[in-house]
Amino acid sequence: MSLDPVTAEVIRGAMETVAYEMATHVSLTATTPILNQSNERNATILDGRGRLAALSVGIPQFMLSSTLPVRFALEFFAEEGLNAGDVLVANDPYHGGGHLPDYNVFAPVVVDGELVLIASIQCHHADTGGGMPGGYNAEAIDIWAEGVRFPAVKIYDRGVERRDVLYMMQTNNRTPSFIGDIRAQIGAAQLGARRLGELVKQYRVDGIRNAVDHAIDYAARRFREEVAAWPDGAYEATTFVDHDPVGNQDIRVHVKVTVDGDRLEVDYTGSDDRQDLKAYSSFGNTRGYVIAQLASMMDPAIPKNEGFFDSVDLVVPEGCVLNPQVGKTVAAGTHHPGVEVGEALCMALAKVLPERSSPQIYKLGMPTVIFGQQPETGEVFVDHSVDVLAAYCSAVAGEDGWGSMPSSFGNLIRATAEVNESIFPVRHEGCDYATDTGGAGQWRGCPGSRVVKRVLVPASVTTYMVGMKYPMLGIAGGRNGSPNQLTTCVGTERAQRIEVMANGVPHAAGEAFEYVYGGGAGWGDPLERDPERVLEDVLDELVSLGAAEREYGVVLTGQGDGLQVDWEATKRLREERA
C-alpha cells in the first residue's frame, strides 16, 4: 500500500518531534552536566528492522552509535523477540557501540505482537567502571580494563524493572549519579515508546511503515542527487594522529573516496594496522565520523535517517585502527583516530569539492582534568575543563571561522568562569583569542584561545595532547591552523611544555597552566583575501601587522585606530608573491 506524501510528511514531522521530546526529557531530568548542559545525548527512532527513521542530535559524530547496538539486540533476541514494556541497555563498542561511556537505552513499540518501532536514547556517562574513573584509561591493556560491557541487556522485562540488573549496573560504576541518569534515559525511552504507540494507533502499522519507507527513500534520493553532482573519480588523502597516549608516533588514516555517478564509496584500506597501539576507533565510531563529515558537505535540510547513512558504501578493513579486533582499547581512539577519519575524508573531497569542505573535527586529545581537594570540606573535586574557549574552527568558502568550535559541536555548551570559580578552587584568568593562530586564507580560520587556569589549592593536571605535529589542515590553498601548546606550571622554574601526556602534573597553590588552543585552518589563497578584511583583522588584533604582510601580502600604513590599506604597496607585494 502506498501512502500519500502529505501524510508521510506529517508522520515524519511527528517522529522528529518525539525524538526531540526524548532528548529534552533527558536534558531536563539528568543530573550530570555532560547531559543537562553539554548535550552529549542523541535520541533516535528506528523501525522494526533497526533502520533509523528519525533523530534529534546533540553531537553528530556520536549519533550513530545509537543505532547499531539496537540492530545487535534485534539479532540476539530474534527468536524470543522484544515485547511491549521491555527496555534494554547497551554500551559495547564491539556490538555496535562507540565507546563504553556511551550508554544506549531503548524501548520497542509492539502493537498486536508486531515490532513496529524502537525508541532509543544514547547518553555519555561520567564513568563506566574499569581501571580508571571516566573511562579514559591510557594504561588499559584491553577493553575489559576500560570498563563494563553491556552488549544488549534487558533492564525492563514486559514492563517490570529488573532490579537485579540495575543494581548490578550501579555496583559496577563509581559515580553515584550514574543510575539516576540511566533512569532519566529509561524515562525518555518509555516516553518515546508511549508517544510512538499513539502515532501507530492513529496511522496504523501500515501507515507508519509506509511513512518510514517514504522518509528513508526521500533521504536516499536527496543524498544521491548530491553525490551525482560531484565529479566522478577516486580521491585519496592521508592524515595522522601525532601519537597515541603512550607515545606511539604517527598513527595513519588513509582514505580513498570514489564517486561514481550517484554512488559514493569510502574506503579506509591502507590505514594503520599496528596491533600494539592505544588508539582504536570501533567500527560504529568510525562510521559516525564518516557520516558527520558527509552531512556537513551536503544540503543541511536532508533528513538524517537510514536513507542518508545507508547511501555510503563504507569499507573499513577488519583489524586496522578503524575497525579493530575484539578486545582492543577504544576510549582514546574514539577521538583519535576517530577524528582523523572525518579529517581524511574531508581532505580527499576537498580536492574536488573545496567549496563544501570544512573538517568537522577537533584536535583535543582529551579534556584537561584538574584533580584536587576542596579547601573547606576536603572533598575531591574534578574539573573537566569544559570551559569557554575557541579552537579548531576552520574557515569555509565565503565565511571566516567564527565562534568556538566547528558547527558540529554547536550544541556543546561550555562552563563559564563565574559559575566554575564558585564551584572549583580554580581561577579562569582568560580565554582571549590568540593573535595569528587562525590559519591564513582568502577566508581566515578562527583563532584559538589562550586559556590560563590558576589553581588556588595544590592540584594535579592530566591531559593527552595531539594537534601539535598535525594541526588543522588548510583547504584550497589556505594555511594550517596553529598547533596546540600546553605549558604546565607556567612562569615557574618547573614550567614544562607537554609533548604527549600530562600525567597528573602537580601544581602548587597559585600556579597556573597555559593552554593555547590550536586555531582553525584557512580556506583559499591568503593573497586573495580582501585587503579591507585583513585591515579589519589587524584592527581587531586577530592578525598582527607582520602577519598581514607576511601571510596576506597586505601593507598597512598609519597607526593604531587610524590604520589604512596601502593599496599600491599591497598590489606590488602581492604581484611579487604570485
Partner: protein, 689 residues
Amino acid sequence: MPYRIGIDVGGTFTDFILIRRDGTLGLGKTPTTLEDQSLGVMRGLEEMARAEGRDLGGLLADTEIVVHGTTTADNTMIEMNGAVTGLLTSEGHRDEIDIRRGFKENIWDPAYPPPTPIAPRRRRFGVPERLDFRGQVVRPLDEDAVRAAVGRLKRQGVESIAVCLLFSFVNPAHERRVAEICREEYPEARLSVSHEIMPTAPEFERTSTTLVDAYVGPRLETYLANLESALRGAGYGRDLLIMQSNGGIMTAGFMARKAVAALGSGPTGGVMGACAVSRDAGFEDFISIDMGGTSYEACLVKGGRPTIRSFWNWQHRYLVGLPMVEMHSIGAGGGSIASVEAGALKVGPQSAKADPGPICYGRGGSEPTVTDANWVLGYINPESLCGGEFKLSGDGVREAITRRVGEPLGLDLVEAAHGIFRIVNANMANAIRRVSCESGYDPRDFNMVVYGGNGPVHAGKQAEELGIGRYLVPKTSPAFSALGLVIADYVVDIQRSYITPSGRAEADRVNTLLGEMETQALDDLRVAGLGAGDIDFRRYLAICYPGQTFDLAVPARVTSDGRLGEAELRATVEAFHDLHEETHTYAARDEEPILRAVRVQAVGRTPKPPLELADGASGSLEDALRARRPAWFDGGYVDTPVYDGDRVSAGQRIEGPAIVEERFTTIVLYPGHRAQIDARGNYHVTVEA
C-alpha cells in the same frame, strides 16, 4: 479619568484599544509608520479621538493611562542598526561574547554565518582588574588602563558603552568606578553597566544582555522621548507606560535606562490579555496562540501566569538573561509559502508577508500560501476580508496550487490545498509539543486561547491533534495585544546571585538581599506614582541540584514580614524537591541542592476597569446567518453556514461545521466542535473527544 488607551505597534498595523469609564471598548487600526513609529501612533490617536467625538487634546487630557507595546528594540536587533557600541570587560575575557559558550544555531551547516557583532573586537577592551567569587579584590582596578580604553572608544566614535566586569554582581565597586571614569572622560556616551542591568552570573549571559541594552538603548530612548513629547504637546499629562518583556509595564523613563527589557514588548501584551480573559472564563492552564501573517507565537501559561524564561534565552542571536515571558515563534502564518522540495511538501518559514501577500490578495503574489489554501477549502470568505474592505480574488490561486504543489506530488487541487493546510497544522502542533515538553507538561492538560488574524481558522485542528478539549477565541482578538497592554500591572524584576550549597545558605544573607532588592523596586515604582500599599512582592529562590545548569524559581516561604528564618529557608529547599518532581519527573532528596540566586518580583497593581458585558441574546442564531458556502470537512465539501460575527450574541451556541466571520478574523468550527458565546462575546469552543 475616563479613558485608558493601549497602543500596540505591529509590523503592518498599529492597533489601538480604548476603554471608557463604563467598560465599553473602542478599537482602532492604522498603518504602522516604520521610519518613526510615533507618527502612526499620533495619527491613530487622532482617529480615535474623532471617533469619540472629541479633539485629541480633550481625549488625552481625559486619559488616565497610555500603555504602549513597541517593536523598536526588536526592530533594531532584526536590522542590526543600533548604536556604535563598545565593551569594557575584565582582562582575559574580551572574546567570551564571540565564543558564545560554544553555541551555534545550526549544527549541520558549516557556512552558517556568525551574528553581526554588536561590538567588534576593536571596540572591546579587557581592563586589568579582578574580583574573586566572594567579591574580594584579587587585582586592583588599573584606572589608567580604563582611561586609555575609553579614549580609544571615543576616537572610534562609540555612542554607547557596555561595562561588564567579572563578579560585579557580588561587588560592583570596580564596575562603578569604570562607569565614573567613562562619564569623566566621555560624558556623551550612553552607559549600560552590567550590575544595574542584570546583576547575576554567569558572565556570558550578563555581557550579552548588557551589550544588547547598550546597542538598542539610544534608539529606544530617542523614540520614547519623541513620543512622550508628542503626547505631552497634544495634552496628555501622565507618564507614558511601556510593556516590558516580563509582562509588566513601567514608565518610559525607566525603560530608557533598561532598554533591553523592551524586547518582545508587543507580543507580550497578547499573552497578558489571554491571562485576563482566561481568568474571567475560569481556567488558568492554557497555551496562548497568536497566528498572524508571518509567524505563529505560542506561550504556555500555568496557574494563570505565563512561563517566564531567564535562562538560555536567545533573542535575535543574542542571549538575554532578564526574565521574559517565554514566547515560542515559528515561521507559520497565513502568508507562509508552500513548495515541494525533492518530493516533500514544505510550508514556511518563507512568507509572502503583507506585500505581495497571498495570491488571493491580488497584489502580485504568485506563490501559493496557507491563506490561498484556506481560500480553496472555503474556510475564508471568497470575496473579501475585514468586513468587505479588503477584496480577494481567486485569479491564479487554483492554477498556482495545482502547478506548484499538486502536480509535483500527484495530487489534485483540493488534495494539494488540504495538504498545505495539514502540513502547517502539523508544524504548529509540533511546535506546541516542543514548548510543553520543554516545560515538562502534557498539552492535553491545557486549554488554548487563540487570537491573531489566522489563529481561529486553524485552532480547531490543532486542538484535535494535541488532544486539547477546549479553546477560547476572544471577541477582541484583532486588537488583543493592545487590550493586554491596558490591563497589565507594573512589574519590576530584580535578581541577585547568591551561589552556595543550600545547607550553607544563611537566612540573614538572603534577607539582606531581599531588603536591598525591595528598596530598589520601591524606588523604581515610586516614580510611577505607586506607594508601598499598591505593591505586592513575590520572592523566589533560584535552586538547582549539583551539576545542573537549569535552576528553578521556587516561591520563597516567608514569615509575615516577608523574610525567611532558618525554618522557612529549609521549607523552601524542600519545596524545590517537590517542584522538581512535578516538572522533571523525579526528586533527588538525598542530594544537597545548590542555591543560585534570590529573586524579587514587585507587582504594582493597576485598577482593572470592568469590561463591558454584551447584551443577552437579542435574536435567534438564524438572524446572524450571513450565507452558506461549501467548505472542506472530513474529506468532502459540506454546505456550511456562515455567521456574521457582529450579529451573533451572548448565550448562543454554534455547532460545527460552521464558520463565523468576524471583522478581522474568521473562526472555523470543525465537525464535532461547538462554540458557546459568553457575555463578553468570547467564543468558548469545546472539541468532542
